[in-house]
């Protein structure tokens, strides 16, 4: 606790310290060369550096330049002129996976449907029957408002990366991976690729919609020398007649849609699910590349629809699949297993989701769980669901129990409760930093304290799970986003 009082940022004190250090080490063989740009350098001297990806470094230094971490270690030399921050513990900023904070609500929601309010972001309304729609072309990034109070407040709680997932049913659109800092949506965006959101539900309409949308993105290899993907992207349909030369496409299409309860023929009837704007005509947006489908150049709209699905299909962007009950998991797994390159992240919210731990752990799936120890329905039995998933072999990221500021405020404490309940502390810290970053494909940018990473750091005056610990500073891209002094 008292270490917090050592935290200094006075430049001249820092300079003197650095000068003394430099003087002490000039004779050493490893002396830091004089650095003319050291004024741009920030050094964090911490009693414990929780790197997450390579253990804890005691009495170490993190050097930051141009918003990036340039070196980490116990024997790192602080260049002359660097600003020095001193703290007890430094850890990577929290990576929140699947949040609706700051979003306006369900796209194309029927009148009277209460979606999340801008800025406050309550959890998605459970139990509300929503009609599934496929709008992969919608983008969360189009509506991000950078001057929302909530961003500053989130940064204050140590959240430095947030994967925003649009609410809704079916395929509501593309999410965005953002930093809660920056003056424009573009500046806030960490990974322009983002993610594709899928809100799964165990019913025929939603599953047919999801299956046909992804089936539509399945490339039809017509000629081994030809790149079917570019073909697909150019005109939205393989060349007419080409598919008849090969038996492969049919065979591949046939294995495309096995479901737990058997293979169903593709839906033929017009689809009652989409509203006027979300209406996707068969053979175009939803099933765009079926052989024999309409040929000819795709409209911009079709391309906009197909592109994100194709990226998700190829694993270029992750697919965040939200399941509110265990039945959805039981149906989603075989459905998405048919798309082998797809990179699924399962976001689960059911209190008894430990019942599907074995299913998801079997193939070390990526699972996002609430950081809580819920009571199993019909019992008074509390279950450490996160620990059970880890035991079953799943890779687990944790999000707050409630998807709002208050949730992120208590996230570290909740993780501590999971540790108390048997979760490995190393996994607990990874579950809110490195693992979500890996799932989102951004672990070379965020989620750990390592050379080359974005300088998104939390400076603490104690252990990360201690209730008495306070956040002293939060850096985003090396800049102080929150100063608790």
């Amino acid at each position: 606790m008292s270490s917090g009082t050592f935290l200094k940022r006075s430049k001249w004190v820092g300079s003197i310290l650095a000068a003394v250090l430099a003087a002490v080490t000039t004779n050493s063989a490893h002396a830091a060369p004089p650095d003319p740009f050291a004024n741009d350098v920030t050094a964090i001297r911490a009693r414990h550096i929780i790197t997450v990806n390579s253990g804890i470094i005691d009495n170490g230094i993190v050097l930051i330049r141009n918003g990036k971490i340039v070196s980490v270690g116990a024997d790192v030399k602080i260049p002359v002129g660097a600003s020095i921050l001193v703290c007890d513990t430094v850890m990577p900023g929290i990576v929140g996976l699947s949040s609706q904070i700051g979003l306006s609500g369900v796209p194309d929601a029927p009148a009277g449907f209460a979606g999340p309010q801008r800025g406050s972001g309550p959890p998605p309304t459970a139990g509300v029957v929503r009609q599934a729609a496929a709008n992969p072309h919608y983008k969360v990034s189009d509506e991000i408002y950078p001057f929302e109070d909530v961003w500053t407040k989130l940064a204050r709680e140590g959240v430095t990366t947030l994967a925003l997932v649009p609410p809704g049913a079916g395929i509501p659109g593309q999410g965005a991976i953002i930093k809660p800092a920056g003056d424009s949506a573009q500046a806030m965006t960490l990974a322009p690729n983002g993610l594709l959101a899928v809100h799964f539900a165990a019913n025929t309409q939603t599953m047919d919609l999801i299956r046909s949308t992804f089936e539509g993105a399945r490339p039809q290899p017509v000629d081994p020398t030809d790149d079917p993907l570019s073909d697909f992207l150019q005109d939205g349909a393989p060349r007419p007649g080409a598919t008849s030369n090969s038996g492969a496409p049919t065979a591949k299409a046939a294995v495309g849609a096995p479901l737990a309860a058997g293979v169903r023929p593709p839906v033929g009837a017009p689809d009652p699910l989409s509203g006027t704007d979300t209406q996707v005509r068969r053979g175009q947006g939803r099933g765009g590349v079926r052989p024999g489908g309409p040929a000819g150049p795709a409209t911009g709209n079709q391309q906009a629809r197909q592109e994100p699905v194709l990226k998700a299909f190829n694993g270029t962007i992750p697919t965040v699949i939200s399941c509110t009950d265990n039945a959805s998991v039981a149906y989603a797994l075989p459905l998405f297993a048919a798309f082998d390159k797809l990179d699924p992240i399962y976001v689960l919210t059911a209190p008894d989701s430990n019942r599907v731990a074995a299913l998801l752990g079997e193939k070390a799936r990526s699972v996002v769980l609430p950081a809580s120890i819920p009571v199993e329905p019909l019992t008074t039995n509390r279950v450490n669901v996160v620990a059970e998933f880890v035991k079953a072999g799943a890779k687990v990221a944790c999000r707050p129990q409630t998807d709002d500021l208050e949730g992120y405020r208590t996230l570290r404490f909740q993780m501590g409760q999971l540790v108390k309940g048997g979760l490995d502390p190393d996994i607990a810290i990874s579950a809110i930093t490195l693992y979500p970053a890996q799932m989102l494909g951004i672990s070379t940018r965020v989620g750990s304290v390592a050379t080359g990473r974005d300088a998104n750091l939390i400076l603490l005056d104690g252990g990360p799970f201690e209730p008495g610990t306070r956040i002293r500073k939060v850096l985003i891209d090396g800049k102080v986003a929150y100063d608790g002094e």
Binding site: A201, R355, L359, T380, V383
Partner: protein
């Protein structure tokens, strides 16, 4: 207060150890489901066999075998025999000495908390193998459940114990023929193993929500106001009859056409009415029609359809069926009844009306076979004890109270229930070739003191009282 808290805490710890069993079960099922079986299945080795030995085997259809053996393999019953049927070396042997072995009970309706089916959806896309109701069903001895998309079982039972008139309010009117129904197994955690059969019957709601001016003090016995409801509506009934009539005409013409062609005569093929497909299997007696009807008038209307179009019919909940038992027997219709129904008689009618606790005896005497359902088709731990599916077998006992004999009572839980959902070929008795749905009971299934000790579904152990979260700490008074 304090004394009541203690056992609950004990429950909680009991649940801990049980969860791993659930998960192991789920995992085991997932692993077994993975390999694709070749077309020619290899001959079963002893390890594939489960032998339940030493118990009194109540086959339901072929009497009781003292100290008998039930052998299961590949999810099916392989053999049923006497003490001389010995398990081969290496097979799993379950000791049932001093116990009673029966087929799994068949529920002709249930509220399982399935995910809910949106209009146009398929039930098999909305099952929840992880629902606790599934586990509770297995603990009650129920191994198969019929579900229909139009409400809980296509009848008036809302499930969940909705109070007041709500429970008896008809489900949202489904005024036409539907085949969106499914028979599922209570195989916890095993989605593939859950689906037993789809569209085994056709359903039709004929339950007219007639106003009975304050019967039961609930503003109308069936929750409706005064006047005719949708399903008793003349235009709805005309549409139903018209659909059947046109399909029947088509069938006759089509048969004539086939005969003419065979005879080498010149003939033109008849045009099939667009709505004939759903009713043709009924006219050909290939499928049952499960009708919701309650009053004498509605049942008589249903019987009229059965007689006029030669339809094999099941009527539910058929509260007033006892009044016209002979008519029902003449039409060879089966019933699904609630023996504990307390519907009061209609004072304006001088013939019999309302529910009659002696109904089962009257129906049996007339030769009508019936399945039974409790007043509430949900599964609950803390609800009205003895009124819901948790004590399913007691409905058989209540049928006996109403005058039915023990065999009819047992049938009403098993083979007759299987017949009413078109599944008698696979469910409802212990016979070689039927599904491996077997119970080991601590005593007579119709005795209120009897516990389900083990439940096998598709040949696999799905419930064991000794490890159950809910029941392992409850012991009968005389247990050693």
């Amino acid at each position: 207060m304090a004394s009541s808290v203690k056992p609950i805490v004990l429950y909680a710890f009991a649940a801990c150890s049980c969860m791993s069993a659930h998960m192991a079960l789920a995992q085991g099922a997932a692993k077994e489901a993975a390999p694709v079986k070749p077309a020619a299945a290899p001959a079963p080795v002893p390890a594939d066999y489960t032998y339940i030995v030493g118990g009194d085997v109540w086959t339901v259809t072929k009497g009781v075998i003292k100290g008998g053996t039930v052998a299961m393999c590949g999810g099916k019953i392989d053999k049923v025999g006497g003490p001389d049927l010995k398990p081969p070396e290496g097979s799993t042997v379950v000791d049932a000495r001093g116990k009673i072995v029966t087929p799994g009970f068949v529920a002709t309706s249930a509220s399982l908390g399935n995910a809910g089916v949106a209009p146009g959806g398929q039930l098999r896309d909305s099952l929840d193998p992880y629902s606790l109701s599934v586990a509770l069903a297995a603990s009650s001895g129920i191994t198969s459940v019929y579900l229909s998309a139009s409400g809980a079982g296509g009848g008036r039972r809302g499930g969940g114990g909705g109070g007041g008139g709500g429970r008896f309010a008809p489900q949202a009117a489904d005024t036409s023929f539907s085949t969106n129904n499914i028979v599922i197994k209570m195989a916890e955690g095993d989605l593939k193993g859950m689906v037993a059969a789809e569209s085994t019957v056709t359903t039709l709601n004929l339950e007219a929500p007639r106003g009975f001016g304050g019967f039961g003090g609930r503003g109308g016995r069936f929750g409706g106001g005064a006047g005719q409801g949708e399903n008793g509506n003349l235009s709805v009934r005309w549409t139903i009859q018209d659909q059947l009539r046109r399909a029947k005409e088509y069938l006759a013409k089509s048969n004539q056409y086939d005969a003419d062609k065979k005879a080498g005569k010149q003939a033109t093929a008849p045009t099939k009415p667009t709505d004939a497909d759903v009713v043709l299997p009924l006219l050909k007696q290939e499928r049952l029609l499960r009708v919701s009807a309650n009053t004498v008038a509605d049942i008589q209307y249903a019987l009229k359809l059965a007689n006029e179009y030669g339809i094999k019919m099941v009527i539910s909940p058929a509260t007033e069926a006892w009044v016209i038992a002979d008519e029902i027997a003449a039409a060879r219709a089966m019933l699904i009844i609630t023996t504990r129904d307390r519907t009061l008689p209609d004072e304006r009618r001088n013939t019999g009306s309302g529910a009659n606790p002696d109904g089962p005896g009257i129906l049996e005497k007339a030769g009508v076979s019936f399945a039974v359902l409790p007043p509430d088709t949900s599964f609950s731990i803390g609800g009205e004890l003895g009124r819901d599916m948790m004590t399913f077998a007691l409905e058989g006992s209540y049928a006996m109270r109403g005058g039915a004999d023990a065999q009819a009572a047992l049938d009403s839980l098993t083979i007759t229930a299987a017949k009413t959902i078109g599944m008698e070929g696979r469910l409802g008795s212990l016979e070689a070739g039927k599904d491996g749905d077997v119970l080991i009971l601590s005593g007579d299934p119709l005795d209120y003191r009897t516990f389900v000790e083990k439940t096998f579904i598709n040949g696999k152990l799905c419930y064991d009282k000794d490890t159950s979260t809910f029941f392992k700490d409850i012991h009968p008074a005389n247990e050693k």
